[in-house]
C-alpha cells in the first residue's frame, strides 16, 4: 500500500514537471494508444461489445484503442486495475453492476466504487428473459408460479445480476423458486432444455438459438421492455408482477482525469452510439444498444444497488462485515 502511494506521488510529480499545466496535457491527448479494460474473458458479450466500440472510437479519437481483457480476481481485477491506472485519459474500462455493486459487496477490494471512477457513459444493456423447456409442464409464468407453490422448483442462471427478477417474483407470489448456479449462460440454457432444471433466466443472446429451434419456450421478458424479436411475449411488469433484471454496462475513466479529456471522450462515445452500424452490430448480439451519459448512468447504478444488496445477503453471497 505504502509503495503504491509513493509510486503515485512520483507519477504526479513527473506529470507536473514534464507535462506542465493540464491544458497542455489535454491538447496532446491522445498521445499514445488507449487501453480499454474489460474484466471479462474474450468472447463474453461485454468483450464483443467492447471490440465494436473500440474500433468505432478509434476513428473519432484518431488513436488506437485496444481491448485489454484483465480477467481475474472473480471480476475484481479489472475494476481494481482501472482504479489504480494513471488518470491521463489513456486508460478506460468497463463499469457495470459487477464493478460497482456485486464485487464490492462480495469481497474486500481496494477501491471505492463510487469515488474511484469518472463514468463516461452507458453503451448497452443485457436483455433478460425467463424460459422453460418447450415440451415441459410449465407453459407460462402462471404455471411457474402455481407449480412453485405446490413444490420446490429450480431454475438455472450463471450470475447474480440475472436473477433479481426471479427473487422478486418469488417474494411477490410466495412461489418456491431455487436458483441453481451454472458456470456460463449457455450451460444454464442447456440445463433447462435438457429438463435438468424447471426454468432458466438468461439473456436473449443465450436463449435465442434454442427458442428459434423450438426447444425453449420464452415465458416472459424479464427486462424493462419486450424483446424486439419476440414482440408478443409480455414483460413481467405487463403481467402485473413488479419484477425485472437489469444488465447495463458502460465505461469509465479512473477518477482525476483532466475534465477537458473526459469531455472529449464522453462526446466521442455519444457520437459512436449515434452510429447506426455500431448499434446494429451491438443489437445483433442480442444486447440492447442504449446510451446514457456518465451522470445518468451513475444514477442508474445507484438505483440497482438498492435492489441487489438484499439478494446478495439472502443468498449468502455478501461478504461478512469485517
Amino acid at each position: 500500500m505504502l509503495r503504491r502511494t509513493v509510486f503515485k506521488g512520483g507519477t504526479a510529480l513527473a506529470a507536473m514537471t514534464v507535462a506542465g499545466p493540464a491544458i497542455a496535457q489535454s491538447a496532446k491527448w491522445p498521445s499514445r494508444e488507449i487501453s480499454l479494460i474489460n474484466p471479462n474473458a474474450p468472447g463474453a458479450s461485454t468483450d464483443l461489445t467492447a471490440r465494436i466500440i473500440a474500433s468505432a472510437l478509434e476513428k473519432r479519437l484518431n488513436a488506437t484503442v485496444i481491448v485489454k481483457n484483465v480477467v481475474g480476481g472473480a471480476g475484481a481485477l479489472g475494476p481494481t486495475t482501472l482504479a489504480q491506472s494513471a488518470p491521463d485519459g489513456h486508460t478506460i474500462g468497463l463499469v457495470a453492476i459487477s464493478s460497482h455493486i456485486a464485487v464490492p459487496n462480495m469481497m474486500n477490494v481496494t477501491y471505492d466504487p463510487w469515488k474511484a471512477f469518472d463514468i463516461i457513459g452507458q453503451v448497452a444493456a443485457l436483455r433478460y428473459g425467463i424460459g422453460a423447456r418447450a415440451d415441459g409442464p410449465i407453459k407460462s409464468i402462471e404455471d411457474l408460479i402455481a407449480q412453485g407453490k405446490q413444490k420446490q422448483l429450480t431454475y438455472s442462471s450463471n450470475n447474480v445480476t440475472n436473477v433479481v427478477a426471479m427473487f422478486q417474483l418469488a417474494k411477490l407470489t410466495g412461489a418456491k423458486l431455487r436458483w441453481v448456479v451454472f458456470p456460463g449462460g449457455v450451460e444454464s440454457v442447456t440445463a433447462a432444455i435438457g429438463g435438468h432444471v424447471d426454468a432458466v433466466i438468461q439473456t436473449v443472446t443465450e436463449m435465442r438459438p434454442q427458442i428459434e429451434a423450438g426447444k425453449l419456450r420464452l415465458l416472459a421478458s424479464a427486462a424493462q421492455a419486450r424483446w424486439p424479436d419476440y414482440p408478443d411475449v409480455k414483460t413481467l411488469r405487463e403481467m402485473g408482477y413488479d419484477a425485472g433484471s437489469n444488465g447495463p454496462f458502460g465505461y469509465a475513466l479512473p477518477a482525476g482525469v483532466d475534465p477537458a479529456i473526459k469531455d472529449r471522450l464522453e462526446k466521442a462515445l455519444a457520437d459512436v452510439m449515434k452510429d447506426e452500424t455500431v448499434t446494429k452490430q451491438i443489437s445483433n448480439l442480442g444486447i440492447e444498444a442504449i446510451y446514457r451519459n456518465g451522470k445518468d448512468y451513475g444514477e442508474l447504478l445507484k438505483k440497482i444497488e438498492i435492489e441487489l444488496v438484499p439478494i446478495l445477503k439472502e443468498t449468502g453471497m455478501a461478504k461478512k462485515p469485517a
Binding site: 474474450p42 474500433s55 472473480a74 458456470p183 423450438g214
Partner: protein, 494 residues
C-alpha cells in the same frame, strides 16, 4: 453428401482457401508459442473479420482453433513446455522420446495421428452431428458428476509408482482446484486475500510451472558432461517413425480418436480431458506399462490423436445446438452471432452453405496442416542441437513470456515460478505430476456438478442414479476403481 460437395465448392474459392491457410498457419504458430493460446488470438482477430464475408471469417477463425492442436505438440516434445493445456500429457512421454533421440519420430507420429484424428473427427461431424448434439442435452449436473467421478478414478491408472503416492498427488491437485471462488455462492475460498487467486490458480501457469520450469531447474543442476547425453537428432527425414514405432501407434491413434471425439462433444470436458483419458487408457491396455513415462510411443500417439479429435468433436454442439463446449468455441459462437448467423438446430435449414462450407474447410485445413507440419519437423528438431547452456535460458524465457501472454497478469508469472520449484521438488522425490493436472482439471467440475445436483434434488443423493446415463457412469467409476486396484493387490500377494 451433395450438401457437403456444395460446401467444398464454397471452400475451394481462392479467398476461402487463402483464409483457411492463414487460419491454420496462425494456429500452428500460436500452438507452438506456449501461453499465447487460441482464445487470445481469435479475440484479437475478431474485429478484422467484421468486414469479411461470414463464411470466410468462420473458416479462418476455426482454422486457428484446430491448428493449435497440431502446433501445441512441438514445445511439449522438444522442451517439455506444454504449448497448450491439451498438450500437457504429451510432455510425459513425448519429451522422454526426444531424450532418447526420437524427437523427429515423436513429432511425426503426433502429426500423422493428429491428421488422422482431425479428419475422422470431421467425418464424424459430417455424418453424426444432429443425433450426437441431442446427446449433449441429456447431460445434466448428475451425469457430469458421475462422469467426472469416473475420470477421477483414472488416477489409479496413471501412476507409475505406488498408489498412496498417486493418491497424494491427486489430493494435491484437488486442493489446488478448490482455490478461488466458491462455485455456488462465489465467496472467495483459500485465496488468503490475494486478488490474483480470486479465480483460482490458472491452468497455464500451473502446467508451465510444473512441467516447463521444473525441467529448467533440472537442467540447471546438470553438469556439462550430463548435458551432452541428449543425442543429436537424425537427418531431415528423421520424422519418419521406425516400423516398430509405427506398428505400436496404430491402435492408440484409433482409440484416441474415438475417445477424443466423444469426450470433445461434452461442454466443459473437451480436449484436455480427452488427452488425459486416452493416456490412462493406453497405459492400462499396454503390454509395456513400465515404459510409460520413459518414452512410450503409445503414451504419445493416443493423447495427441485424442486432443485433435476432441477439437473436432467440440464443433458438433457448437454448430448444431449453438452450445459452445469451451471458451474458444464460445468465442467462435460470438463470431457467428456478430455476423448475423445463429448456429443451432436451424442452421442446416437456413444457412446450409455456411455449415457445409466450414465443415469442408476443416477437411482441407487438416490436409494443409499435415503438409505444413511434416517438413517443419526437420527444422524444429534442430532446436535440440543448440548447446544446452544456451537452450536452457531460452526455455526459461519462453516459459515466462508464455505465462505472461496467456493472461497479461504478472502475478501468474510468479505463480508459475512457485510451481516450478514445487514441481522440481516433487519430481526429485518421484511423484507423478500428470495426476496433479488431471485432478486439478476434473475436481472443480466434479464439485460443482455434485452441488448443483444436490441443490436440484433438495439434498437427495439418489439423483446420481436417476438416469441411465448417470447410473451407467457411476457403475463405470466403481468398475474402474476396482479394476485399477486389482493388479496392485495381486502383485503384493505374489
Amino acid at each position: 453428401m451433395e450438401a457437403l460437395l456444395g460446401g467444398f465448392a464454397v471452400t475451394l474459392s481462392f479467398d476461402n482457401l487463402f483464409y483457411c491457410f492463414v487460419g491454420v498457419l496462425l494456429g500452428t504458430i500460436v500452438g507452438i508459442l506456449p501461453g499465447l493460446g487460441p482464445l487470445t488470438t481469435i479475440a484479437i482477430l475478431l474485429p478484422i473479420t467484421f468486414k469479411m464475408e461470414v463464411t470466410s471469417a468462420i473458416i479462418m477463425l476455426s482454422g486457428i482453433y484446430y491448428g493449435v492442436a497440431y502446433g501445441g505438440t512441438v514445445t511439449s516434445v522438444l522442451m517439455r513446455i506444454p504449448g497448450e493445456a491439451s498438450s500437457v500429457v504429451t510432455c510425459l512421454d513425448g519429451y522422454e522420446m526426444a531424450r532418447k533421440g526420437r524427437a523427429g519420430a515423436a513429432l511425426g507420429i503426433a502429426g500423422i495421428g493428429s491428421f488422422f484424428a482431425g479428419t475422422v473427427g470431421v467425418i464424424g461431424i459430417t455424418f453424426l452431428s444432429p443425433p450426437l448434439a441431442e446427446l449433449v442435452v441429456a447431460f445434466g449436473p448428475a451425469e457430469y458428476a458421475m462422469l467426472m467421478l469416473a475420470g477421477l478414478t483414472m488416477v489409479t491408472y496413471m501412476s507409475a509408482g505406488s498408489l498412496p503416492r498417486a493418491l497424494l498427488m491427486a489430493a494435491f491437485g484437488l486442493l489446488l482446484g478448490t482455490i478461488g471462488s466458491d462455485p455456488m455462492n462465489m465467496t472467495p475460498r483459500l485465496t488468503f486475500g490475494i486478488m490474483a487467486l480470486g479465480d483460482g490458480v490458472n491452468l497455464v501457469p500451473l502446467a508451465i510451472g510444473l512441467f516447463g520450469l521444473s525441467e529448467v531447474l533440472f537442467m540447471a543442476r546438470q553438469t556439462a558432461e550430463e548435458m551432452k547425453i541428449l543425442p543429436a537428432p537424425t537427418g531431415v527425414m528423421g520424422f519418419l517413425p521406425s516400423r516398430e514405432e509405427a506398428r505400436r501407434s496404430v491402435a492408440p491413434v484409433m482409440r484416441g480418436t474415438v475417445l477424443g471425439f466423444l469426450v470433445g462433444l461434452l461442454p466443459g470436458g473437451g480436449a484436455v480431458l480427452a488427452s488425459f483419458l486416452s493416456y490412462a487408457m493406453e497405459r492400462k491396455l499396454s503390454k509395456h506399462p513400465e515404459e510409460f513415462g520413459k518414452g512410450a510411443v503409445e503414451g504419445l500417439a493416443g493423447p495427441e490423436s485424442a486432443n485433435n479429435a476432441g477439437t473436432a468433436g467440440a464443433f458438433v454442439p457448437l454448430l448444431c445446438m449453438g452450445i459452445p463446449a469451451n471458451a474458444i468455441t464460445a468465442l467462435l459462437l460470438g463470431a457467428f452471432i456478430i455476423h448475423g448467423v445463429t448456429p443451432g438446430p436451424t442452421i442446416l435449414e437456413r444457412q446450409p452453405q455456411i455449415f457445409w462450407g466450414v465443415v469442408a474447410s476443416m477437411y482441407i485445413g487438416n490436409v494443409m496442416l499435415l503438409i505444413l507440419n511434416l517438413p517443419l519437423i526437420g527444422l524444429f528438431v534442430r532446436i535440440l542441437q543448440i548447446p544446452r547452456a544456451y537452450l536452457t535460458p531460452m526455455i526459461l524465457a519462453v516459459c515466462l513470456i508464455g505465462v505472461y501472454s496467456s493472461s497479461g497478469n504478472p502475478a501468474d508469472v510468479l505463480i508459475a515460478v512457485i510451481f516450478g520449484f514445487v514441481g522440481y521438488g516433487l519430481r526429485r522425490h518421484g511423484f507423478d505430476l500428470g495426476i496433479v493436472i488431471l485432478a486439478y482439471v476434473l475436481g472443480p467440475i466434479f464439485e460443482r456438478s455434485v452441488r448443483q445436483s444436490l441443490a436440484i434434488s433438495d439434498g437427495d443423493p439418489m439423483i446420481f442414479l436417476h438416469s441411465y446415463l448417470s447410473a451407467g457412469f457411476a457403475i463405470v467409476a466403481v468398475a474402474l476403481l476396482i479394476a485399477g486396484l486389482w493388479p496392485a493387490r495381486k502383485k503384493k500377494a505374489a
